[in-house]
């Protein structure tokens, strides 16, 4: 074992040769192995987050193609592009993929990439677990799309309501595909949540006390807490559904005392917070981007943090507003109407804080800022229709019509996808080292904004005219044709805008302008390192001197030294004030998360066909976990070797 004096540690060197030697050692310690093996064993948060984003974008495109095909089918009355059975699979897979394989994971993935950078640390808290999360997510993605293209895609709606999804009305394996896919993605989401909470709580740079945490990190932390409760619920519920179908339990079978409404309660106890799980990180992105484009800190930091936390709590108290059309007691309905209206308050506070920031700042209309402004307009429209359907009498009229489809697309595309696209433009330079093109960016925005409104605004009227959602066609005499045709044209405009985005990405990767460390003059720590960041993120852990970490930094850029450079060491700090507390050696790259994910796949996929899958799968998972848990010693680390 090395004596303490021989241990190489980071230090500020006057001698350039010594400095370069030190840097090389740090790079060797943190760099992943090369080649395919390195790719399979990587535990670097940036590498894993990039894969998450890429995989989620594949689902975004495929689910978008589903939407286009559905819009072609609905453009004219009595069309025959899709039959009813195919249409059921198309809309179920569209909704399922957009929610579980795109929106939630991509919001978490952006957090997995940027939370460690924004709090000034070198990796997420549990890097191997993080890799396991990605591999399970990848299996879920492949599984859902393979099932869909093999004509065994889920077909009972993304809500999988019983009794339709039960064994009696959905024989075959389509619903099982849905239920197991849910379990997979929830394992991944729960892992991501634990990562983000622990990283933000224990690995912040010294000086980043709770009241200096960047708003995006706050948003990711609140979301992560919501995920812990919401995703556990849907994973449990989907297992109950799978058991009703596989081993004959009766949770949702009224003939044996089960209850179809129990499914709705469990589903929406997850499903409503899910909307905020998607929306809250998006608000964090808006708060992260605004300072750079208004040249001032976001107005009302404390109010925004409290609004985020308030939204997190209230978000769990309004699930029954999805069930007003069921036999819920009137008093219960009134309570949930009140709570549904109440959640507009914290969201309203955030909107007012952003407007005040723009008002008092010097807005610069770069592409990310356009997406922010677009978000404000669209989200307010979606929010207002939300307040309308929070009212029981109105909801009873609009329930299961296209009005609701219009509402939630305004909220989810306007409220989440617009900030996400803004964030792509904002953070792309950090991730790749190159700027995205501004001209194509503006085309991307305006086509998206126009397409979004042309597609979804007419749907409000279709709903008011009584067009139900989830119907594969309609009769010409109902008069819904022109509005549907308009919506279909809009959908193709959105598709064009997404094409422009990918063209912009391809062009920038090939010959985009170099970004430099901080192209936007932004205020948070991810801009204090190179673009793209090195494997160790920061040569020296930074010390934070104010809420806007870069804008308040004194010219001598205070740092922490003394971490080992021959081991992947990170600095741990206290929960409240981020005082340095300990050093922690991070796990090395390893294949075991992938092996464990394969074991988990055996477990979950075999459970579709036989209950004995539990035994085989448990054995398969155990192989992975034993390999994972068995110590891979640094030399001299074993206690009995040391005596």
């Amino acid at each position: 074992m090395k004596r303490e004096a021989e241990v190489p540690r980071s230090a500020l060197h006057a001698d350039p040769a010594e400095d370069a030697r030190d840097l090389r050692r740090l790079e060797r310690t943190w760099s992943p192995e090369r080649g395919l093996w390195g790719w399979l064993t990587s535990v670097d948060h940036k590498s894993i987050a990039r894969r998450y984003v890429a995989t989620a974008l594949v689902s975004f495109v495929l689910a978008g193609i589903n939407a286009l095909v559905m819009r072609v089918q609905l453009a004219r009355p009595e069309s025959h592009v899709l039959g009813p059975d195919a249409y059921n699979q198309y809309f179920t897979t569209h909704g399922t993929a957009m929610m579980f394989l795109f929106a939630v994971p991509i919001m978490e993935a952006v957090g997995i990439y940027f939370v460690p950078l924004m709090v000034g640390t070198r990796n997420v808290a549990f890097p191997r677990l993080n890799a396991l999360g990605y591999w399970t997510f990848l299996v879920a993605t492949i599984f859902l799309w393979a099932s869909f293209y093999a004509n065994v895609g889920p077909d009972a709606g993304w809500t999988a309501y019983v009794p339709l999804s039960g064994p009696q009305f959905s024989p075959g394996k389509r619903v099982d595909t849905w239920a197991q896919m849910i379990t997979f993605t929830e394992v991944s989401a729960l892992i991501g949540a634990v990562e983000i909470i622990t990283t933000a709580f224990k690995q912040r740079a010294p000086g980043m006390s709770l009241n200096r945490i960047p708003l995006f990190v706050w948003a990711e932390v609140v979301t992560a807490f919501m995920i812990l409760f919401a995703m556990s619920t849907i994973a449990t519920a989907s297992m109950m559904l799978a058991m009703d179908r596989l081993i004959g339990t009766h949770f949702f079978n009224p003939a044996e005392g089960g209850d179809a409404l129990l499914w709705q309660h469990l589903f929406w106890f997850f499903g409503h917070p899910e909307v905020y799980i998607i929306f809250i990180p998006a608000t964090g992105m808006v708060s992260a981007m605004l300072p750079a484009f208004t040249r001032r800190p976001v107005f009302g930091y404390t109010a925004i943090v409290l609004s985020l936390i308030g939204t997190g709590f209230i978000g769990f108290g309004l699930w029954v507003h999805h069930m007003f059309a069921t036999a819920v007691p009137w008093l219960g309905s009134s309570f949930f109407t009140a709570s549904s209206v109440m959640i507009a308050v914290p969201s309203g506070i955030q909107v007012l804080c952003w407007i005040a920031t723009v008002w008092d700042g010097r807005p610069r209309l770069a592409t990310p800022m356009l997406f922010i402004l677009g978000f404000l307009v669209l989200f307010v429209i979606g929010g207002l229709t939300g307040v309308m359907i929070a009212s029981v009498p109105f909801d009873l009229q609009m329930h299961d019509t296209f009005f609701v489809v219009a509402h939630f697309h305004y909220v989810l595309i306007g409220g989440a996808v617009f900030p996400l696209f803004g964030a792509f433009y904002y953070w792309f330079p950090k991730v790749t080292g190159r700027m995205l093109g501004e001209r194509l960016g503006k085309w991307n925005f305006w086509l998206f904004f126009a397409g979004m409104n042309v597609t979804f605004f007419p749907m409000h009227f279709l709903g008011l005219l009584g067009m139900p959602r989830r119907v594969y066609t309609y009769s010409p005499d109902l008069g819904w044709g022109p509005l549907n045709m308009t919506a279909t044209v809009g959908a193709f405009v959105i598709a064009l805008s997404v094409l422009v985005f990918f063209a912009n990405v391809a062009r920038s990767l090939a010959r985009g302008a170099p970004a430099g460390d901080d192209p936007w003059g932004a205020d948070s720590l991810e801009w204090a390192t190179a673009s793209p960041p090195p494997p160790y993120n920061f040569r020296y852990p930074p010390v934070v001197q104010g809420r806007a970490a870069l804008w308040s930094r004194t010219p001598d850029a205070p740092v922490v030294t003394g971490l080992r450079t021959d081991k992947p060491e990170i600095l741990m700090t206290t929960l409240l004030d981020a005082e340095p507390e300990s050093r922690h050696v991070h796990p090395q790259p390893t294949i075991w998360p992938l092996v464990t994910a394969i074991g988990l796949s055996v477990l979950l996929l075999s459970l579709i066909y036989t209950p004995w899958g539990l035994i085989w799968g448990a054995a398969a998972v155990s192989i992975g976990l034993i390999g994972w848990g068995w110590p891979d010693h640094h030399r001299g680390a074993r206690l009995e070797e040391r005596g």
């Binding site: 729960l190 622990t198 556990s232 109950m240 005392g257 089960g258 209850d259 922490v560 848990g629």
Partner: protein, 202 residues
Amino acid sequence: MSAPRTVYDASALPEVVYGSKSLAFWGTLGFMVVEGTTLAILASSYVFLWSNFDRWPPAGTSPPSLLVPTISMLFLLASNLPARQLAKAARAKDLRACKRWLVACTLCSAGWIVLRLLEFRSLNTRWDDNAYGSAVWALAFAHFTLLAVEMAETLLFTLVFLTGHAEEKHFPDIVDDVVYWVFVTVVWVPCWFLLFVLPRLI
């Protein structure tokens, strides 16, 4: 910008820390929340389904036996005594005591599993009899999986220590394992009350 300046030298900070200072503690806490929520959802479903029945357990279904489940629950609670000794040994970095108490805890956890398997037979219903049977089995089986996970983790630590592979970093990991041990044993008490006592009282 001028050259950076050191304001804090981290070299003297400890590498091995316990409790809420360690990362593993927060991970354990996160998974306790997930598993606690799962049990709470299953317990809520049990209560929700109860409202569909005039009698609970339903007519024709015998109530579960009380003896074996109560012995099992008390044994779970009693197993915290060796677990506590294990945590003390780990905090004191006492390698020999850790080995001793790890073996004791592994045996205890094997005892949990045997007792729970007997307990399944005392439920007096099958999962596919009716919604009552489904709800009872779901809660009991979900908790059984937590017991199995805890047994596997403790067994792994025992093997690592007995085969001479233990490192200093494993001491705080053992303390976190005991935190999880307390959780899986104590969380069963309200479940036991719900499944075995409450239907007899109402």
